[in-house]
Amino acid sequence: MSSIPNKILVKEFYRQNSGFFLLLFVLFFGVVAPSQQLAYHYTLILGMLETPLFLGIVLFAWFLYGLKTIRFLLGSLDEPEANFLYKLAALSSGRLFWLCMSIQGLLLLPVWAYSFAVMGVAVYRHADGTALLVPLYMVVINTAGAVCLRSRLLFPGRLPVLSMRRRPRRKVPYWSILIRYLLKEEKALVGGIKLFSCAALYLLLKEQGPDDYDLRMPFLFYSLSLFGHGAILYRCRQMENTRLLFYRAMPVSQAARFGQYALFYWLLLLPEMLVLGWLTPHPIRVTDTAAFLFSGYSVLLLLNSLLYTAPFTNRVFLRICLLIFGILYCCVLGNYLILLSEVFLVTATVLFFRGYARYEMRA
């Protein structure tokens, strides 16, 4: 019974807010080393227990998150594709309530998880008031959401003020469409490549010491991941050629178009930037971090521009990527990485400005 509502409401909520959760994850777990995570969160929770103001701020943040979930639920029911969910109103009162409780509970899952941690520490530290307050508060938020959802299902049209999920965005820049495409339609490909890239960088670079400092092997894996990025770029271009064709007819200068790509690829490299930033200045040196990032960025821009020189088949483009991968690795061995990146960047710019208007997609 709950699988379809879960798919439409719960999965969709996490899908739509994946960026928000990624940011939260980075803020909560990315700012300290893995070995210090427990101590860091224990200190945070102790702060909540000992400072009522801090606890109040946290509870207010949870309230805002609860409000966000309620708005999402009510807004979702306004969508034409979710209209059939009103059939749920035919369930018995009790079943409907518990279904709504479970949906809201799943949306509140990250908050529930943290609240359990707070409760655990509160019990351990004999802070009985907080140990009681936190679960009660969570039950209230959970129930409030469930009541709103149940009320909307039983009495459509009520609570219109809360349903504000899909307000039109104020801005939809081109790069954001490309990012959304990757997040929505190429999750597995992007996720796999990013996981490989970030894991390889982290695992191979964290062991670097001053005595055995050698970046050739990490760079080999990094350039392999850049090679993999070629597949992402190729898919993006295919999507642009079919579903974003109208953009070519719009009055946008080539410099502005290039700027959109420059921003897009910068964002695409963000996970690698975060990993490298984390490992800098120790164990990896600042100049080497810059070389890694600069080379990666210039390769992506070069591949992007190359895709505007001719309508390559994926096999031909694969060969081009392999060639660039080979050149890149040779330059690492010869210590010409920065120079090569500069050449790539200039070539990318020239090719884009020469190729964009002349580009003809495959018929």
Binding site: E79, P168, V172, R180, L244, L245, F246, A249, P251, V252
Partner: protein, 210 residues
């Protein structure tokens, strides 16, 4: 208004278009031609989507020399438009608004005219081909283009929407002196018959029929 100079287009060595020189004053043009005669290619070429030999000018803005100024004067809608399925109508309208900079209230009027407001918040992947077509027309009319290029504008539209599109064409021509260039296999609608000049794409070039 629309001028073509030695326009040539080939695909894989096969000549598709070979139009020596052609000047079309402001107005409504209805381009006909057999399947594969190059109508869609011509419209895409005029929209700046395809490379070609020669040059095209609208109000003296050359596509080759001043591509941005040229594109500001034209607008294009595809015969069977496709949009990313994860975008909704509001996203697309916001995107167009930013670039085309329509006069205040114009987009809301267009949305009301075609009655598409109720599904603008839903994603493109849930739309029928008729809904997609209507939105593509709204987007093509956004801003103040001097020339609107519509490839097969009447296919997939229901009778009511066809009537509304024709009203809009007449209004835009009267209010803004907008020109239109259509490609279509269908007959010219009665309401446009007296205002429209018929063209035919034959033997790689454009011929005036009347």
């Amino acid at each position: 208004m629309l001028e073509l100079y030695k326009v040539q287009k080939s695909y894989g060595g096969e000549k598709i278009l070979d139009i020596s020189d052609l000047q079309l004053p402001a107005g409504i043009y209805w381009l006909q031609g057999a399947n594969g005669s190059g109508k869609t290619t011509l419209l895409r070429l005029l929209a700046g989507l395809l490379p070609f030999r020669g040059d095209v000018r609208v109000h003296n803005h050359s596509l080759r020399e001043r591509p941005v100024a040229y594109r500001r004067t034209i607008s294009w809608a595809d015969a069977e438009p496709l949009y990313p399925g994860f975008l909704n109508g509001d996203d697309l309208i916001t995107f167009y608004r930013k670039i085309q900079q329509p006069p205040p209230g114009q987009v809301d009027k267009l949305i009301g005219h075609f009655g598409i407001k109720s599904w603008l918040s839903s994603r493109a992947e849930t739309w029928s081909s008729g809904m997609t077509k209507k939105l593509s027309i709204v987007l093509a009319f956004t801003g103040k283009p001097s020339l609107i290029l519509l490839d097969e504008p009447l296919i997939t539209l229901d009778q009511d929407s066809t009537g509304r599109l024709i009203e809009l064409i007449v209004d835009y021509q009267r209010l803004y002196d907008t020109s239109f260039f259509f490609s279509s296999h269908q007959a010219i609608p009665d309401e446009l018959r007296n205002k429209t000049r018929l063209l035919e794409l034959k033997e790689h070039t454009i011929q005036m029929i009347d």
